[in-house]
Protein backbone atom coordinates (compact mmCIF):
# COMPACT_ATOMS: atom_id res chain seq x y z
CA UNK A 1 0.00 0.00 0.00
CA UNK A 2 3.05 2.28 -0.12
CA UNK A 3 2.44 4.40 -3.23
CA UNK A 4 6.04 5.27 -4.01
CA UNK A 5 9.17 3.39 -5.01
CA UNK A 6 12.42 3.15 -3.05
CA UNK A 7 14.13 5.23 -5.75
CA UNK A 8 11.63 8.08 -5.34
CA UNK A 9 11.64 7.85 -1.53
CA UNK A 10 15.44 8.03 -1.30
CA UNK A 11 15.63 10.79 -3.91
CA UNK A 12 13.09 12.89 -2.03
CA UNK A 13 14.75 12.20 1.33
CA UNK A 14 18.07 13.25 -0.15
CA UNK A 15 16.63 16.55 -1.40
CA UNK A 16 15.01 17.12 2.00
CA UNK A 17 18.18 16.38 3.98
CA UNK A 18 20.28 18.61 1.75
CA UNK A 19 17.72 21.40 2.12
CA UNK A 20 17.69 21.34 5.93
CA UNK A 21 21.43 20.76 6.42
CA UNK A 22 22.97 21.34 9.03
CA UNK A 23 19.82 21.04 11.15
CA UNK A 24 20.39 17.29 11.52
CA UNK A 25 23.65 17.84 13.41
CA UNK A 26 22.06 20.52 15.56
CA UNK A 27 19.17 18.18 16.39
CA UNK A 28 21.58 15.41 17.41
CA UNK A 29 23.29 17.90 19.74
CA UNK A 30 19.93 18.74 21.31
CA UNK A 31 19.32 15.01 21.64
CA UNK A 32 22.65 14.54 23.44
CA UNK A 33 21.74 17.47 25.67
CA UNK A 34 18.46 15.75 26.52
CA UNK A 35 20.37 12.61 27.52
CA UNK A 36 22.70 14.77 29.62
CA UNK A 37 19.87 16.37 31.55
CA UNK A 38 18.52 12.91 32.35
CA UNK A 39 21.95 11.85 33.62
CA UNK A 40 22.56 15.11 35.52
CA UNK A 41 19.12 16.43 36.41
CA UNK A 42 18.66 20.15 36.99
CA UNK A 43 15.63 22.10 38.16
CA UNK A 44 14.44 22.80 34.62
CA UNK A 45 15.35 19.39 33.19
CA UNK A 46 11.76 18.16 32.84
CA UNK A 47 10.72 21.28 30.96
CA UNK A 48 13.81 21.09 28.76
CA UNK A 49 13.13 17.44 27.91
CA UNK A 50 9.53 18.29 27.06
CA UNK A 51 10.68 21.12 24.84
CA UNK A 52 13.32 19.07 22.97
CA UNK A 53 10.99 16.12 22.38
CA UNK A 54 8.01 18.33 21.44
CA UNK A 55 10.18 20.26 18.96
CA UNK A 56 11.43 17.03 17.38
CA UNK A 57 7.89 15.71 16.84
CA UNK A 58 6.63 19.07 15.59
CA UNK A 59 9.48 19.51 13.10
CA UNK A 60 9.15 15.94 11.80
CA UNK A 61 5.38 16.25 11.48
CA UNK A 62 5.44 19.67 9.84
CA UNK A 63 8.43 19.43 7.53
CA UNK A 64 8.98 15.72 6.79
CA UNK A 65 5.42 14.41 6.73
CA UNK A 66 3.20 17.36 5.83
CA UNK A 67 5.77 19.51 4.05
CA UNK A 68 7.49 16.96 1.84
CA UNK A 69 6.16 13.42 1.80
CA UNK A 70 2.41 14.13 1.91
CA UNK A 71 2.67 15.03 -1.78
CA UNK A 72 3.87 11.51 -2.54
CA UNK A 73 2.08 9.42 0.05
CA UNK A 74 -1.44 10.06 1.35
CA UNK A 75 -0.53 8.28 4.61
CA UNK A 76 1.72 11.20 5.52
CA UNK A 77 -1.27 13.51 6.09
CA UNK A 78 -2.72 11.60 9.07
CA UNK A 79 0.73 10.62 10.31
CA UNK A 80 1.86 14.26 10.16
CA UNK A 81 -1.17 15.30 12.20
CA UNK A 82 -0.42 12.49 14.65
CA UNK A 83 3.09 13.85 15.10
CA UNK A 84 1.71 17.32 15.84
CA UNK A 85 -0.69 15.88 18.41
CA UNK A 86 2.22 14.10 20.12
CA UNK A 87 4.24 17.33 20.01
CA UNK A 88 1.38 19.13 21.75
CA UNK A 89 1.20 16.40 24.41
CA UNK A 90 4.94 16.51 25.07
CA UNK A 91 4.91 20.29 25.19
CA UNK A 92 2.02 20.39 27.63
CA UNK A 93 3.15 17.58 29.94
CA UNK A 94 6.84 18.43 29.80
CA UNK A 95 7.41 22.08 29.03
CA UNK A 96 4.21 23.60 30.48
CA UNK A 97 3.29 21.36 33.42
CA UNK A 98 6.79 20.11 34.24
CA UNK A 99 5.42 16.62 34.86
CA UNK A 100 8.49 14.84 33.53
CA UNK A 101 10.86 13.94 36.33
CA UNK A 102 14.29 13.86 34.79
CA UNK A 103 15.79 11.74 37.54
CA UNK A 104 17.09 8.62 35.89
CA UNK A 105 15.19 5.44 36.71
CA UNK A 106 17.27 2.61 38.03
CA UNK A 107 18.15 -0.76 36.53
CA UNK A 108 17.34 -2.33 33.20
CA UNK A 109 14.87 0.31 32.10
CA UNK A 110 17.46 3.06 32.45
CA UNK A 111 20.31 1.18 30.79
CA UNK A 112 18.23 0.04 27.84
CA UNK A 113 16.81 3.55 27.50
CA UNK A 114 20.30 4.97 27.33
CA UNK A 115 21.36 2.43 24.68
CA UNK A 116 18.21 3.04 22.67
CA UNK A 117 18.80 6.79 22.86
CA UNK A 118 22.28 6.51 21.37
CA UNK A 119 20.99 4.04 18.77
CA UNK A 120 18.32 6.57 17.72
CA UNK A 121 20.82 9.42 17.47
CA UNK A 122 23.67 7.57 15.78
CA UNK A 123 23.06 3.83 15.35
CA UNK A 124 20.05 4.00 13.04
CA UNK A 125 21.71 6.47 10.62
CA UNK A 126 24.84 4.31 10.67
CA UNK A 127 22.81 1.27 9.61
CA UNK A 128 21.54 3.28 6.65
CA UNK A 129 25.10 4.24 5.74
CA UNK A 130 26.26 0.64 6.15
CA UNK A 131 23.52 -0.39 3.74
CA UNK A 132 25.27 1.68 1.09
CA UNK A 133 23.20 4.85 1.18
CA UNK A 134 24.66 8.34 1.26
CA UNK A 135 24.44 10.60 4.33
CA UNK A 136 21.44 12.39 2.83
CA UNK A 137 19.57 9.15 2.18
CA UNK A 138 19.15 8.23 5.83
CA UNK A 139 16.83 9.57 8.53
CA UNK A 140 17.92 11.62 11.56
CA UNK A 141 16.47 12.55 14.92
CA UNK A 142 13.98 15.44 14.76
CA UNK A 143 13.72 15.35 10.98
CA UNK A 144 12.73 11.74 10.27
CA UNK A 145 10.09 9.62 11.99
CA UNK A 146 12.10 6.49 12.87
CA UNK A 147 14.88 8.09 14.95
CA UNK A 148 12.44 10.59 16.51
CA UNK A 149 10.10 7.84 17.69
CA UNK A 150 12.98 5.72 18.99
CA UNK A 151 14.59 8.60 20.86
CA UNK A 152 11.27 9.48 22.49
CA UNK A 153 10.78 5.87 23.59
CA UNK A 154 14.32 5.91 24.97
CA UNK A 155 13.70 9.05 27.04
CA UNK A 156 10.35 7.73 28.28
CA UNK A 157 12.19 4.61 29.46
CA UNK A 158 14.69 6.71 31.41
CA UNK A 159 12.36 9.15 33.17
CA UNK A 160 9.35 9.01 35.43
CA UNK A 161 6.48 11.34 36.16
CA UNK A 162 2.77 12.01 35.99
CA UNK A 163 0.77 11.32 32.84
CA UNK A 164 3.70 9.81 30.97
CA UNK A 165 1.53 6.83 30.02
CA UNK A 166 -0.45 9.05 27.63
CA UNK A 167 2.75 9.76 25.71
CA UNK A 168 3.18 6.10 24.62
CA UNK A 169 0.24 5.34 22.26
CA UNK A 170 1.25 7.70 19.44
CA UNK A 171 4.88 6.48 19.29
CA UNK A 172 3.67 2.87 19.27
CA UNK A 173 1.18 3.47 16.42
CA UNK A 174 3.66 5.61 14.47
CA UNK A 175 6.36 2.96 14.99
CA UNK A 176 4.08 0.32 13.50
CA UNK A 177 3.50 2.47 10.40
CA UNK A 178 7.22 3.19 10.04
CA UNK A 179 7.98 -0.52 10.25
CA UNK A 180 5.37 -1.40 7.62
CA UNK A 181 6.90 1.28 5.39
CA UNK A 182 10.43 0.05 6.08
CA UNK A 183 9.55 -3.56 5.33
CA UNK A 184 7.74 -2.56 2.12
CA UNK A 185 10.69 -0.58 0.78
CA UNK A 186 13.51 -2.63 2.32
CA UNK A 187 14.82 0.05 4.72
CA UNK A 188 16.29 -2.00 7.55
CA UNK A 189 16.58 0.68 10.25
CA UNK A 190 12.92 1.65 9.74
CA UNK A 191 11.80 -1.98 9.74
CA UNK A 192 13.31 -2.34 13.23
CA UNK A 193 11.44 0.62 14.78
CA UNK A 194 8.26 -1.14 15.93
CA UNK A 195 9.98 -4.16 17.50
CA UNK A 196 12.30 -1.79 19.39
CA UNK A 197 9.50 0.50 20.59
CA UNK A 198 7.32 -2.48 21.55
CA UNK A 199 10.23 -3.94 23.53
CA UNK A 200 10.81 -0.57 25.22
CA UNK A 201 7.16 -0.39 26.22
CA UNK A 202 7.25 -3.93 27.63
CA UNK A 203 10.33 -3.08 29.69
CA UNK A 204 8.66 0.08 30.98
CA UNK A 205 5.52 -1.83 31.96
CA UNK A 206 7.56 -4.53 33.74
CA UNK A 207 9.58 -1.89 35.53
CA UNK A 208 6.41 -0.11 36.68
CA UNK A 209 4.77 -3.31 37.86
CA UNK A 210 7.94 -4.11 39.87
CA UNK A 211 7.89 -0.63 41.43
CA UNK A 212 4.20 -1.01 42.28
CA UNK A 213 4.97 -4.43 43.80
CA UNK A 214 7.61 -2.89 46.04
Amino acid sequence: MVPLSLEVFLGTLEDFNRMIRPMQALAVMFGLMAVWVVLKPQQMSGRLLGLVLASSWASTGLFYHLGVFAELNFWDYPVGVMFLVQAAGLFFIGAVMNWITAAPTEGTSYRIGLALGFYALAGAPLIGLAAGRGWAEVGYFASSPGPTILFTAAVLLMVSGRWLAVLWPVPVIAALLVTIFGVSLGIYEDAAVFPLVAAALMIKLRSRSRQNGN
Binding site: S5, V8, G11, E71
Partner: protein, 306 residues
Protein backbone atom coordinates in the same frame (compact mmCIF):
# COMPACT_ATOMS: atom_id res chain seq x y z
CA UNK B 1 8.08 -12.08 -50.08
CA UNK B 2 10.21 -10.21 -47.55
CA UNK B 3 9.78 -10.61 -43.79
CA UNK B 4 7.96 -7.33 -43.33
CA UNK B 5 5.38 -8.05 -45.99
CA UNK B 6 4.96 -11.57 -44.71
CA UNK B 7 4.33 -10.43 -41.16
CA UNK B 8 1.98 -7.69 -42.31
CA UNK B 9 -0.05 -10.17 -44.25
CA UNK B 10 -0.02 -12.63 -41.39
CA UNK B 11 -1.17 -9.97 -38.96
CA UNK B 12 -3.93 -8.85 -41.29
CA UNK B 13 -5.21 -12.37 -41.68
CA UNK B 14 -4.72 -13.37 -38.07
CA UNK B 15 -2.15 -15.92 -39.11
CA UNK B 16 0.73 -14.83 -36.92
CA UNK B 17 0.68 -18.23 -35.29
CA UNK B 18 2.47 -19.56 -38.31
CA UNK B 19 5.91 -18.45 -37.13
CA UNK B 20 7.70 -18.58 -33.89
CA UNK B 21 9.69 -15.36 -33.63
CA UNK B 22 8.56 -11.89 -32.67
CA UNK B 23 8.92 -9.03 -35.10
CA UNK B 24 11.66 -6.50 -34.39
CA UNK B 25 10.65 -3.55 -32.19
CA UNK B 26 10.86 -1.04 -35.00
CA UNK B 27 8.58 -3.14 -37.09
CA UNK B 28 6.29 -3.87 -34.17
CA UNK B 29 5.85 -0.20 -33.46
CA UNK B 30 4.65 0.41 -36.97
CA UNK B 31 1.70 -1.89 -36.39
CA UNK B 32 -1.49 -0.83 -34.68
CA UNK B 33 -2.44 -2.08 -31.29
CA UNK B 34 -5.63 -4.08 -31.18
CA UNK B 35 -8.55 -1.79 -30.36
CA UNK B 36 -11.70 -2.63 -28.46
CA UNK B 37 -14.89 -0.63 -28.49
CA UNK B 38 -16.42 0.80 -25.35
CA UNK B 39 -19.84 -0.89 -25.31
CA UNK B 40 -21.82 2.18 -24.20
CA UNK B 41 -20.34 4.69 -26.67
CA UNK B 42 -18.69 2.69 -29.42
CA UNK B 43 -15.46 4.66 -28.92
CA UNK B 44 -12.43 2.53 -29.77
CA UNK B 45 -9.56 2.34 -27.29
CA UNK B 46 -6.24 0.47 -27.61
CA UNK B 47 -6.35 -2.80 -25.74
CA UNK B 48 -3.33 -1.82 -23.64
CA UNK B 49 -3.33 1.34 -21.57
CA UNK B 50 -0.90 2.66 -18.99
CA UNK B 51 -1.32 2.61 -15.22
CA UNK B 52 0.48 5.19 -13.09
CA UNK B 53 0.34 3.67 -9.56
CA UNK B 54 3.79 4.14 -7.98
CA UNK B 55 5.57 4.48 -11.33
CA UNK B 56 4.55 8.09 -12.01
CA UNK B 57 4.60 9.21 -8.36
CA UNK B 58 8.01 10.89 -8.58
CA UNK B 59 7.30 14.30 -7.02
CA UNK B 60 9.10 17.43 -8.17
CA UNK B 61 12.36 15.82 -9.35
CA UNK B 62 12.90 17.02 -12.92
CA UNK B 63 15.26 14.17 -13.75
CA UNK B 64 12.75 11.54 -12.63
CA UNK B 65 9.93 13.38 -14.40
CA UNK B 66 11.94 13.37 -17.61
CA UNK B 67 12.55 9.62 -17.24
CA UNK B 68 8.79 9.14 -17.05
CA UNK B 69 8.47 11.36 -20.11
CA UNK B 70 10.53 8.74 -21.97
CA UNK B 71 8.10 6.05 -20.81
CA UNK B 72 5.16 8.07 -22.09
CA UNK B 73 6.91 8.73 -25.39
CA UNK B 74 7.49 5.00 -25.83
CA UNK B 75 3.84 4.41 -24.96
CA UNK B 76 2.50 6.80 -27.59
CA UNK B 77 5.05 5.75 -30.20
CA UNK B 78 4.02 2.14 -29.62
CA UNK B 79 0.38 3.00 -30.32
CA UNK B 80 -0.82 3.44 -26.74
CA UNK B 81 -3.39 6.04 -25.81
CA UNK B 82 -5.23 5.30 -22.59
CA UNK B 83 -3.68 6.64 -19.36
CA UNK B 84 -5.23 5.84 -16.00
CA UNK B 85 -4.39 7.65 -12.77
CA UNK B 86 -5.89 8.72 -9.46
CA UNK B 87 -5.52 11.42 -6.80
CA UNK B 88 -4.59 8.52 -4.51
CA UNK B 89 -1.34 8.02 -6.42
CA UNK B 90 0.48 10.97 -4.85
CA UNK B 91 2.03 13.19 -7.50
CA UNK B 92 1.19 10.86 -10.42
CA UNK B 93 -1.50 13.10 -11.93
CA UNK B 94 0.78 16.12 -11.75
CA UNK B 95 3.62 14.16 -13.38
CA UNK B 96 1.29 12.89 -16.13
CA UNK B 97 0.24 16.50 -16.73
CA UNK B 98 3.89 17.58 -16.87
CA UNK B 99 4.74 14.84 -19.38
CA UNK B 100 1.71 15.54 -21.58
CA UNK B 101 2.68 19.21 -21.68
CA UNK B 102 6.13 18.28 -23.08
CA UNK B 103 4.66 16.19 -25.88
CA UNK B 104 2.70 17.22 -28.97
CA UNK B 105 -1.08 16.71 -28.68
CA UNK B 106 -1.87 13.00 -28.94
CA UNK B 107 -4.74 12.04 -31.18
CA UNK B 108 -5.36 8.75 -29.42
CA UNK B 109 -5.10 10.06 -25.85
CA UNK B 110 -7.84 8.66 -23.64
CA UNK B 111 -7.72 10.30 -20.22
CA UNK B 112 -8.96 8.32 -17.25
CA UNK B 113 -8.72 9.27 -13.60
CA UNK B 114 -10.67 8.78 -10.42
CA UNK B 115 -12.38 10.54 -7.57
CA UNK B 116 -11.15 9.31 -4.19
CA UNK B 117 -12.53 11.29 -1.31
CA UNK B 118 -15.70 11.76 0.71
CA UNK B 119 -18.58 14.24 0.19
CA UNK B 120 -19.87 15.94 -2.91
CA UNK B 121 -17.97 19.17 -2.30
CA UNK B 122 -14.63 17.43 -1.78
CA UNK B 123 -15.28 15.21 -4.81
CA UNK B 124 -15.95 18.18 -7.07
CA UNK B 125 -12.87 19.99 -5.76
CA UNK B 126 -10.76 16.90 -6.32
CA UNK B 127 -11.99 16.41 -9.88
CA UNK B 128 -11.36 20.09 -10.65
CA UNK B 129 -7.84 19.69 -9.26
CA UNK B 130 -7.34 16.67 -11.52
CA UNK B 131 -8.45 18.73 -14.53
CA UNK B 132 -5.88 21.34 -13.62
CA UNK B 133 -3.08 18.80 -12.98
CA UNK B 134 -3.66 16.96 -16.25
CA UNK B 135 -4.21 20.19 -18.19
CA UNK B 136 -7.45 18.75 -19.58
CA UNK B 137 -10.88 20.27 -19.13
CA UNK B 138 -12.64 17.10 -20.21
CA UNK B 139 -11.85 13.59 -19.06
CA UNK B 140 -12.72 10.61 -21.23
CA UNK B 141 -13.38 8.60 -18.11
CA UNK B 142 -13.95 9.52 -14.46
CA UNK B 143 -14.16 6.60 -12.05
CA UNK B 144 -15.15 6.25 -8.41
CA UNK B 145 -12.03 4.87 -6.75
CA UNK B 146 -12.43 1.79 -4.55
CA UNK B 147 -16.14 2.52 -4.01
CA UNK B 148 -15.33 5.51 -1.75
CA UNK B 149 -18.58 7.46 -1.08
CA UNK B 150 -19.86 6.03 -4.38
CA UNK B 151 -23.52 7.05 -3.99
CA UNK B 152 -22.59 10.72 -3.63
CA UNK B 153 -20.02 10.72 -6.44
CA UNK B 154 -22.28 8.76 -8.79
CA UNK B 155 -24.72 11.68 -8.84
CA UNK B 156 -21.92 14.16 -9.53
CA UNK B 157 -20.44 11.98 -12.27
CA UNK B 158 -23.79 11.61 -14.00
CA UNK B 159 -24.33 15.37 -13.81
CA UNK B 160 -20.85 16.04 -15.22
CA UNK B 161 -21.44 13.52 -18.00
CA UNK B 162 -24.68 15.21 -19.03
CA UNK B 163 -22.85 18.56 -19.03
CA UNK B 164 -20.11 17.09 -21.25
CA UNK B 165 -17.38 17.54 -18.63
CA UNK B 166 -16.65 13.80 -18.71
CA UNK B 167 -17.43 11.30 -21.46
CA UNK B 168 -17.72 8.07 -19.50
CA UNK B 169 -18.30 7.08 -15.88
CA UNK B 170 -16.78 4.16 -14.05
CA UNK B 171 -16.29 2.47 -10.72
CA UNK B 172 -13.23 0.61 -9.47
CA UNK B 173 -12.01 -1.81 -6.88
CA UNK B 174 -8.67 -3.46 -6.39
CA UNK B 175 -9.72 -5.64 -3.47
CA UNK B 176 -11.05 -9.11 -4.21
CA UNK B 177 -12.96 -9.18 -0.92
CA UNK B 178 -15.16 -6.32 -2.18
CA UNK B 179 -16.16 -7.99 -5.44
CA UNK B 180 -19.60 -8.88 -4.05
CA UNK B 181 -20.42 -5.30 -3.10
CA UNK B 182 -18.87 -4.07 -6.35
CA UNK B 183 -21.03 -6.42 -8.42
CA UNK B 184 -24.20 -5.31 -6.65
CA UNK B 185 -23.45 -1.63 -7.26
CA UNK B 186 -22.49 -2.21 -10.90
CA UNK B 187 -25.62 -4.28 -11.48
CA UNK B 188 -27.98 -1.76 -9.90
CA UNK B 189 -26.53 1.41 -11.42
CA UNK B 190 -25.47 2.58 -14.85
CA UNK B 191 -21.71 2.92 -15.27
CA UNK B 192 -19.84 2.86 -18.57
CA UNK B 193 -16.80 1.15 -17.07
CA UNK B 194 -15.84 -1.25 -14.33
CA UNK B 195 -12.22 -1.54 -13.22
CA UNK B 196 -10.96 -4.44 -11.15
CA UNK B 197 -8.08 -6.89 -10.74
CA UNK B 198 -7.71 -9.85 -13.05
CA UNK B 199 -4.68 -11.91 -13.97
CA UNK B 200 -3.63 -15.47 -14.66
CA UNK B 201 -3.33 -16.18 -10.93
CA UNK B 202 -6.20 -14.08 -9.58
CA UNK B 203 -9.11 -15.20 -11.76
CA UNK B 204 -11.94 -14.56 -9.32
CA UNK B 205 -13.38 -11.96 -11.72
CA UNK B 206 -14.11 -14.70 -14.27
CA UNK B 207 -16.91 -16.09 -12.13
CA UNK B 208 -19.09 -13.01 -11.70
CA UNK B 209 -17.60 -9.63 -12.61
CA UNK B 210 -16.52 -10.24 -16.19
CA UNK B 211 -19.80 -11.97 -17.20
CA UNK B 212 -21.76 -9.24 -15.41
CA UNK B 213 -19.87 -6.49 -17.28
CA UNK B 214 -20.50 -8.21 -20.62
CA UNK B 215 -24.17 -8.67 -19.80
CA UNK B 216 -24.59 -5.06 -18.64
CA UNK B 217 -22.66 -3.59 -21.60
CA UNK B 218 -19.90 -2.16 -19.45
CA UNK B 219 -16.32 -1.62 -20.55
CA UNK B 220 -13.75 -3.39 -18.38
CA UNK B 221 -10.37 -2.02 -17.36
CA UNK B 222 -8.12 -4.61 -15.77
CA UNK B 223 -5.69 -3.42 -13.11
CA UNK B 224 -2.77 -5.40 -11.62
CA UNK B 225 -2.29 -7.70 -14.64
CA UNK B 226 1.08 -8.63 -13.08
CA UNK B 227 -0.36 -8.90 -9.55
CA UNK B 228 1.67 -5.83 -8.48
CA UNK B 229 4.80 -7.29 -10.02
CA UNK B 230 4.58 -10.49 -7.97
CA UNK B 231 3.85 -12.64 -11.02
CA UNK B 232 6.85 -11.28 -12.91
CA UNK B 233 9.08 -12.09 -9.91
CA UNK B 234 7.55 -15.52 -9.50
CA UNK B 235 7.95 -16.46 -13.14
CA UNK B 236 11.38 -14.90 -13.70
CA UNK B 237 13.86 -17.58 -14.69
CA UNK B 238 11.14 -20.10 -15.47
CA UNK B 239 10.90 -21.25 -19.09
CA UNK B 240 8.14 -19.98 -21.32
CA UNK B 241 6.08 -22.83 -22.75
CA UNK B 242 7.33 -24.05 -26.13
CA UNK B 243 4.01 -23.04 -27.68
CA UNK B 244 4.32 -19.37 -26.53
CA UNK B 245 5.43 -18.32 -29.99
CA UNK B 246 2.09 -19.54 -31.38
CA UNK B 247 0.47 -16.53 -29.73
CA UNK B 248 3.31 -14.14 -30.47
CA UNK B 249 4.73 -14.19 -26.96
CA UNK B 250 8.44 -13.90 -26.25
CA UNK B 251 8.47 -12.88 -22.58
CA UNK B 252 6.53 -13.47 -19.38
CA UNK B 253 5.03 -9.94 -19.25
CA UNK B 254 3.66 -10.49 -22.75
CA UNK B 255 2.34 -13.90 -21.73
CA UNK B 256 0.54 -12.39 -18.72
CA UNK B 257 -0.88 -9.50 -20.70
CA UNK B 258 -2.05 -11.68 -23.60
CA UNK B 259 -3.93 -13.79 -21.10
CA UNK B 260 -5.74 -10.80 -19.59
CA UNK B 261 -6.64 -8.97 -22.78
CA UNK B 262 -7.81 -12.11 -24.56
CA UNK B 263 -10.84 -12.34 -22.32
CA UNK B 264 -13.64 -11.10 -24.57
CA UNK B 265 -15.18 -8.91 -21.86
CA UNK B 266 -11.96 -6.96 -21.26
CA UNK B 267 -11.72 -3.57 -22.95
CA UNK B 268 -8.16 -2.86 -21.88
CA UNK B 269 -5.49 -3.65 -19.31
CA UNK B 270 -3.33 -1.04 -17.63
CA UNK B 271 0.13 -2.36 -16.76
CA UNK B 272 2.45 0.17 -15.13
CA UNK B 273 6.16 0.56 -15.70
CA UNK B 274 8.88 3.15 -15.19
CA UNK B 275 11.08 1.62 -17.87
CA UNK B 276 10.64 2.61 -21.56
CA UNK B 277 12.05 -0.76 -22.73
CA UNK B 278 9.47 -2.59 -20.64
CA UNK B 279 6.77 -0.35 -22.09
CA UNK B 280 7.79 -1.34 -25.63
CA UNK B 281 7.88 -4.99 -24.60
CA UNK B 282 4.46 -4.78 -22.93
CA UNK B 283 2.85 -3.14 -25.95
CA UNK B 284 3.90 -6.05 -28.13
CA UNK B 285 1.30 -8.11 -26.28
CA UNK B 286 -1.40 -5.88 -27.76
CA UNK B 287 -0.60 -6.82 -31.35
CA UNK B 288 -1.13 -9.89 -33.45
CA UNK B 289 -3.27 -12.82 -32.42
CA UNK B 290 -4.91 -13.29 -29.06
CA UNK B 291 -5.25 -16.68 -27.39
CA UNK B 292 -8.54 -18.50 -27.94
CA UNK B 293 -10.41 -20.11 -25.00
CA UNK B 294 -8.53 -23.38 -25.41
CA UNK B 295 -5.18 -21.64 -25.41
CA UNK B 296 -6.21 -19.58 -22.37
CA UNK B 297 -6.89 -22.77 -20.42
CA UNK B 298 -3.51 -24.06 -21.51
CA UNK B 299 -1.88 -20.86 -20.23
CA UNK B 300 -3.51 -21.22 -16.81
CA UNK B 301 -2.55 -24.87 -16.54
CA UNK B 302 1.03 -24.12 -17.50
CA UNK B 303 1.45 -21.32 -14.93
CA UNK B 304 -0.12 -23.51 -12.26
CA UNK B 305 2.33 -26.27 -13.08
CA UNK B 306 5.39 -24.07 -12.41
Amino acid sequence: MDRRRFLNLAAATGATTAFGTLPSPSFAQSRELINRKIPSSGTAVPILGMGTWITFNVGKSTSLRNKRLEVLKAFFEGGGGMIDSSPMYGSSEEVVGYCLEQLPPQEKLFTATKVWTVSKWMGVKQMETSQSLWGHKTFDLMQIHNLVDWEVHMETLNAWKSEGRIKHTGITTSHGRRHGEFEKIARDHAFDFAQFTYNVEDREAEDRLLPMAAERGMGVIVNRPFQRGALIKKLAGKPLPPWASEIGVSSWPQFLLKFVISHPAVTCAIPATSNPAHMIENLEAGRGVLPDPQMRSRMVTYVQSL
